[in-house]
Amino acid sequence: MTLKTRIIPCLDVADGRVVKGVNFVDLIDAGDPVEAAIAYDAAGADELTFLDITASSDGRAATFDMIARTAEQCFMPLTVGGGVREIADIRKLLLAGADKVSINTTAVNNPDFVADAADKFGNQCVVVAIDAKKVSGEGEVNRWEIFTHGGRNATGIDAVEFACTVVEKGAGEILLTSMDRDGTKAGYNIPLTRAVADAVQVPVIASGGVGTLDHLVEGVLEGHASAVLAASIFHFGTFTIDQAKAHMQKAGIPVRITT
């Protein structure tokens, strides 16, 4: 008996619709997150992450409805992130059908919010999403800083130190995105992933930059991640979840085979 390494597809949604393209072969409506979730559920994904990038409160209501509809049909874990500012937001997401809630900017602005959330809902429910960018120059010791607002705003906060802080406050998991790698298909930022994974006791989900199945293997074996998140390689059918799992298994990583 071994805990299996998780493969987590991530869907960006706004106003209850998938916005970063999803293009499955058998999907009738590629913009419907519920259909995408059902397809991933059937394909053997270990979890799903929804990132809600809605700006308006009307859009937020559509997102709650989407989560509720997904939870009616997918009997797998759902993490929802984006726009979580208050404890009441977390309660609403959980009641809609989320299992875990991911907190980003609010945790940067106020790390004590993480403590409040963990006290209320348990550490296992609180994921802190960290967006980090390399700030050290060539030949210098690696250093990564937290950025907010899609990478535009530097905070001056050291990413590894921040990870330790939020874990101490009660974060149960870290979703770590390399902003340098996000969307590049050049692979996870392994030094960053490893630095954070080795520094904290909780699981780290590697994110940002996956282009090949070897990248998933690297994230686990070299980056020490407990789970690997990817978006486009799955959305566009470049690889199936089964192919990803078979590849990881061949590399000696325990995975959950469902077929």
């Binding site: 998780r6 009997f75 299992d99 963990a118 407990s226």
Partner: protein, 216 residues
């Protein structure tokens, strides 16, 4: 058959309800699955499910905040012997005490305390989050037809604490995370899963159907 999922402000209630409805449908059982927040309906229920997401103390406080709820659950399952299923913290509440953050009284139905998973290696992250297989220590109707062991089905776990059973005959199944961890505890008409059956796809839906058919 009226199946009440106790709504006390904790947990992923909606997904639990949907999973129970699906399991009942697949097993061709006629079941009215309700989210219930009043003690009167609990007393009328044929089966009771107690979910729980969050910290032990908060779940206990949430339950106690509903006047007469604990008493109704206790009367229904302890006095009248209705089948009971606790899920995650709902299972942990069956213990004598919870030691998460503070010491909190549990129901005292399953002997033992809820204690932090002790990390036993540098690679053992806490919480345990993800899919793990189950080792059955003794047969139980809730695991009927579910393949267990290394090559068996997986269950989804998310927890930092575990119910350390004092009576090993009440520990029906374990999972391994740096050592054995209670996955299913049971006694008479009471059962509790540390994993989330409502999130465990095939294993979970089968276990839920077994619970709906269970005649302890």
């Amino acid at each position: 058959m009226l199946v009440s999922i106790v709504d006390y402000g904790s947990g992923n209630l909606r997904s639990a309800q949907k999973a129970f409805e699906r399991a009942a449908r697949d097993a061709e059982l006629s079941a009215d699955i309700r989210l219930v927040s009043d003690p009167e309906t609990i007393l009328k229920s044929d089966r009771i499910v107690l979910p729980g997401v969050g910290a032990f103390a908060d779940c206990r406080a949430g339950l106690d905040a509903v006047s007469g709820m604990y008493e109704a659950i206790s009367e229904s399952v302890i006095e009248r012997g209705r089948p009971f299923l606790g899920i995650c913290v709902g299972m942990q509440l069956m213990a004598d005490r919870g030691l998460e953050k503070t010491v909190t009284e549990g129901f005292g139905w399953i002997a033992g305390d809820v204690v932090e998973i002790a990390p036993k290696g540098p690679n053992l992250k806490i919480p345990q989050i993800g899919w793990n297989t189950i080792e059955l220590e003794q047969p139980h109707p809730l695991f009927e037809g579910i393949k267990t062991g290394e090559d068996g089905l997986h269950a989804y776990f998310v927890h930092s604490y575990q119910l350390a059973c004092k009576n090993l005959e009440e520990q029906i199944a374990v999972t391994n995370y740096g050592g054995p961890i209670s996955a299913l505890v049971a006694k008479d008409n009471l059962a509790g899963t540390q994993f989330h059956p409502e999130k465990s796809q095939k294993l979970g839906l089968t276990l839920i159907a077994n619970f709906l058919k269970w005649n302890p």
